[in-house]
Symmetry: C2
Amino acid sequence: MALDDTWFTETNADNGAAFSLKLSKKLHEEQTTYQRITIYETEHFGTLMTIDDLYMVSDRDNFLYHEMMSHPALFTHDAPKDVLIIGGGDCGTLREVLRHPSVTCAQQVEIDERVTRLSEKYFPELCASNNDPRAELHFVDGIKWIKDSKPDRYDLIIVDSTDPVGPAEGLFTEAFHRDCLRVLRPGGIFIQQSESPLYHMELIASLHGALRRAGFSDVKTMPFPQPVYPSGWWSATMAGKGRDLAKFRDADARAKPFDTTYYNADVHRAALALPEFMRKRLA
Amino acid sequence: MALDDTWFTETNADNGAAFSLKLSKKLHEEQTTYQRITIYETEHFGTLMTIDDLYMVSDRDNFLYHEMMSHPALFTHDAPKDVLIIGGGDCGTLREVLRHPSVTCAQQVEIDERVTRLSEKYFPELCASNNDPRAELHFVDGIKWIKDSKPDRYDLIIVDSTDPVGPAEGLFTEAFHRDCLRVLRPGGIFIQQSESPLYHMELIASLHGALRRAGFSDVKTMPFPQPVYPSGWWSATMAGKGRDLAKFRDADARAKPFDTTYYNADVHRAALALPEFMRKRLA
């Protein structure tokens, strides 16, 4: 059947695939300096934000992405205090980061302030911690922010970006990763959203190469489900500065003082298991 | 954007979501006694079979489903000899089952012979083991087959069916599960495709209840990615006849004498980790 324009459809031309959500109405649309942001009310996925007609975040399934971009890295670090989020304008990752009592400062550096302002209005739950005294919101270029940062400044860097085209392209380069390594403290952890295991295996392999050449000592990709993103299967790639990523604070994860919907200690360990085709490609 | 009729779209009305694949051409279509089977050539997912306009199997991503419907259960059993597959007409599960040297007989009981005949023609790789001397293809009603089977007949029963509507409806009932328990040997394992963790959590919970009431001693659901199925996230539910399902033949899985694309011993263990919302609902 053909879908009419009561559906929002993201088409992935390289893979001849498309995912659609039935809309109730368009709530907002604007062209910012960087991109076109649209907010819809969907019939069954709650509120939806798209950027340049690509899925960004929906009420219904964002828990998968936000929990996997934050808790595995935070529970791998021994005592994360200073956290930097590059991108992450919807503030969902920031909220998850601030659930960790050890965190004393979480800076979110998003290039497009409008993403955050619209998220405050349309995704208030994701922005619930924006006024936490430990939170800092900066609206500047993340690549420049990293370049200007002092060495040994952060325990954790989370790159919560759009796809590696347009504004986010520079976030998938060895030069950027080298800068991240420099501003991480010894034992620090870098984590970056790394696209679909099914559609983007070569990008993931290339990211591993870039992170290792940049000087990270261990690199691990964690696949997880994400219905609104291409193929419904997504991944985050962690890299350690002089640290192994296989071990994490299992007891703390089991006794975590906050609720999650997807993440738990077992899911954390499970996410480190690579499907056979990924294991072979990354060997 | 609207998708035109060069795409095949499966719409999931209950969840206001749809997944589409770009087609090159329609290869075949027929109405059988039971359902309408259509075969397409897609641009990027290889050959695709749909039944009543629902995704059944594509060249590109069927490895996920077929490997997860077979290897975890087979490597959990100590020495599976007699295997029964209910449904499974595309023969992909049969092929995976027959990779296990301990298996001496694998019966596939598919109600609609046309699914298998079309699969032989359009999915020859999935049917590569149909002529294995250990394989038996029967085209009759699986529910009746189980009713007519002698007690203690099988080590493993795999229910590889369509959704729980139409011909497959009776496969999701306690009465059917009780019959399955009867024909399984002590220590035997039952496994059934159990829909999407995101969309069908209540069906999964109800399946757990039915299996436990039927007398199975342990029940475990394993989520896995499946791009062409609703939400891109699917599951299989295992049940043991007087056996715990947490342990499996890890060393054998590590030394498996055949290649896989998704499954390996680490993925097996990982699949047993339940996301937090599932753990809570099934507790």
